[in-house]
Symmetry: C3
Subunit: 266 residues, 3 copies
């Protein structure tokens, strides 16, 4: 049922499923490119590039299909995806002169486009299989986030989802937008467009203005410098407490993002 | 068959499967809480917390269902698990004042409870699907260990299973206890209780008294200080061997845990 | 269909499938041994060894079966694999005196044998299920690479596939050899032998002579020393560019392996 989304039968479904198919291909190409760029920076050889591009391009969808119980996963039934990745890597190697000229900003922006596309596709496929809305939102996030996360871990970088501002948030918002509009009976292309714009808008705004949600921390005014590798703020006093001093002053507060940034990169 | 464990039909099965269902929920809540605590310490934003809580709470079970061929995985058929995680994270954020007051010891103890619960549940579900006992023991360990391992890797900590004393051992012992008692025909609740007590007892004892199994090492009395990042004991002489000295004295011995600890944290 | 490869019916299939079964066992033993050796070096206790041996021995095949939709995975239907791992670890612990005497070169060589075996087995099982040739090549690579990658990540080492020369390349070449010979109608044992020799020859040659494919890099002649943690060559000028200097000289070039090695380990 999922497998023949490229050969749909009735009218409205054709539009939506055909659209989804092309968006899926676009997402695979963009994510594969992001894998190639990162492989270049990590000095991998051409086959290492291929591996990183494939992992990034089809990793999230593979996890989605495994969890949803679609067997075998989409790229085994439709190897077009693999050929597309092969062509992307081949063209990228031929044009590596241009790949290397890409500014440092290319990677997060490409990642944002891939994220937005995969969130919609993951939520769409989950709904198509009849899951509940909550599962569909989670599935969208998982599809969008997983490929990039494995890419970054293989290239030994901190995954963007942990490092960057408003990443999981944008994916969840895009998923909620799609599932909500679908539940309200909005036409497919409209729901897709609005969800894409939600994820993409949040991510690009976060990249451009360094937006972040507040984080929570229990700040202890330390008696001495904390041990290296230890987070600064913790919920308990330092391990050998002084015998009977006035207790250390603690304040619960939300860390506003600017403070957090300023503290990280002074 | 696995999916309707919340609506069992006959008497004894009802008791056991209903019990297992509630224990599963308890394990998800405890593991989700451990994810929230770690996300707090790593200064993640609320949605990052949600991701870490979900990965920890349902990661092990997802891997178990994938390997056992249960499709789709349990939380797709029963989204109650996701709502429970959502509620846990929401309440934890509302009460983050208290979360941050938790002592440093909370995390390993919560992890021990989650581990014990998930080992029983993993072994139980494997036996329910008719696997052999060895597979059921492995499945219990995998269910218990996987969620916490991914949690720690995402939060960039050394996974407890690699760092801590008697972790995999406790999980395997609990699994053997459950599978053995089941094979002996012990009543379900008794087998569950004894398995829980085995895992939990071993882990809590290991945490409290820093128990560890002996490890094996081939100790070379070094000619010079070993290179940083290199383990101290290796099976071969240092790479540029002196021209014709008396060969370095080597002794095979078991490293007792206290020595190992003393060496690590002097 | 896949499950009863140990009890085949007709003549030629028996030879090939029986052979594949024994080669699979050999691969599991070799990879399990490599896991034990690494666990020894990382000072894991006996049960940690068991976990690392199991992950390495059956990790790649598990991923392959999940992606191909074989349910449940092979070692659930045929627990012989688990008993073999148990026996391997047991014998290795009894003979740890000898394990520790193994030279440092043992690990990559054992890994090369396991890789060659698993590439053939992965490609064979994929073709048996009727996938296209491209999918079979990818499946061979995935089966061969995944176990070792997780082993190295759990033992906190850089995965060989990222660190070593000609690793993914050898796996892909072996997969192409098997799939190509199969498509040409070559007899099974011949295709297996030639594919094994392709992967093994490439890997052993790469290990012995430190062969590597050229990598691509856009070399910027730097104005100042690059920040630590940054790759030396990047596609963009340094972040705060001087106001109006002659632009930095950049050259696109392929980095030959020897240069890369010399730079890495001076």
């Amino acid at each position: 049922m999922l497998c023949d989304h490229s050969r749909p039968t009735d009218g409205r479904k054709m539009t939506v499923n055909g659209l989804i198919y092309w968006l899926d291909m676009a997402g695979v190409i963009i994510f594969a490119l992001s894998g190639v760029v990162l492989a270049c920076r990590s000095r991998m050889d051409p086959f290492g590039m291929l591996v990183l591009a494939a992992v990034t391009g089809i990793g999230g969808g593979t996890l989605r299909d495994l969890v949803l119980g679609v067997r075998p996963v989409f790229w085994v039934t439709d190897p077009t995806y693999l050929w597309v990745i092969l062509a992307t890597v081949g063209l990228a190697i031929l044009g590596f002169h241009y790949i290397h000229r890409l500014s440092r900003g290319f990677l997060p922006v490409a990642d944002a486009f891939g994220l937005a596309l995969f969130v919609v596709i993951g939520a769409h496929k989950a709904l198509l299989l009849g899951t509940s809305g909550l599962v569909a939102v989670l599935m969208g996030m998982m599809t969008g986030v997983a490929g990039g996360m494995v890419r970054d871990m293989l290239a030994r970088r901190v995954p963007m989802v942990l490092r960057e501002e408003i990443y999981a948030t944008a994916a969840i918002a895009g998923g909620i937008a799609y599932v909500g509009l679908h539940a309200l009976g909005a036409p497919g292309p409209l729901a897709i467009a609005l969800s894409l714009m939600t994820t993409l808008g949040l991510r690009l705004a976060a990249i451009h203005w360094h937006l972040a949600l507040p984080t929570f921390a229990w700040v202890v005014i330390p008696h001495s410098s904390p041990a290296p590798g230890e987070p600064v703020a913790e919920g308990q006093p330092a391990s050998p407490p002084p015998i009977d001093p006035p207790r250390p002053k603690v304040r619960v507060r939300m860390i506003r993002p600017e403070q957090s940034r300023r503290r990280k990169r002074p």
